[in-house]
Symmetry: C2
């Protein structure tokens, strides 16, 4: 088991757009309950199956397995909860840390969030000027919830 410690923020302005190359992510869920998430994701030519446990604060258990791209496409289109989540991800390095900026498409178009993965919950980090309000604990922004209640309907 790995442990994922992540914090999530909204963004200011458009400066982030030119700071990283967008890569298309398609992801869907085989389970998206509070207790356990099973996610299928295609990023470029790579596919991965990820299992996550319940969040305790900003921390949750995580298990990841690469799977064949064709399997992932079958699972996304034939088996995952619909609609899928599609987003452009930019990886932006700032002050030695990597920020993942996700620009959502489809029913969640207009939503952009930035995530940073930490080694410990109290790890200090420098916030870029284009990073705004923290929404780590706001369940509306959980990817699994963006399927059932997309941003366009907030």
């Amino acid at each position: 088991m790995g442990v994922e410690i992540e914090r999530k923020f909204l963004l200011f302005g458009d400066a982030w757009r030119s700071l990283g190359e967008p890569v298309l992510l398609r992801q869907g869920y085989l389970s998206s309950t509070r207790e356990r998430v099973v996610r299928v994701r295609i990023e470029g030519e790579q596919a991965v199956l990820t299992i996550k446990g319940a969040s305790v604060g900003a921390t949750r258990g995580e298990w990841e397995y690469p799977i064949p791209l064709t399997d992932a496409a079958e699972l996304l289109d034939g088996l995952c909860e619909q609609p899928l989540i599609e987003k452009y991800r930019r990886r932006i390095t700032h002050a030695g840390m990597v920020w993942e900026v996700d620009e959502f498409l489809g029913a969640n178009a207009g939503l952009v969030v930035a995530e940073i993965e930490l080694e410990s919950e109290d790890q200090a980090f420098d916030k870029p000027e284009w990073v705004g309000e923290e929404v780590s604990d706001d369940a509306r922004y959980f990817n699994a919830n963006l399927i059932r209640h997309p941003y366009s309907r907030w």
Copy 2:
């Protein structure tokens, strides 16, 4: 994607007991809905993550991935729906076909079923004399349902 075509039967008598070596299986579910099943299973020293789609007749889509034994133990004990399913499986060859005879433990003790995997839904096969009534379509016998409503409470 593989396709799983399986038929399931109850057993007569005890003759099957001496026909195969029992191997302990521990399995649990990360999802166990009608639409999609995500199963973690440890069999001996092997562990596998299996995804299954909805059944259409005796047929369902199936995707399988070997995972590390330690991951499987973490997932079974920490993340899967409880209680787990534990059973002894015997593989018994009869008339050129392999029958899997599952003898359940714990809350499902007393239940024994035999399954045969086919190449097509109409494939002919010879039933051993210790194989009885077919229960392929009886949802009570689905492993996922044996968690929520175990045999001891029927």
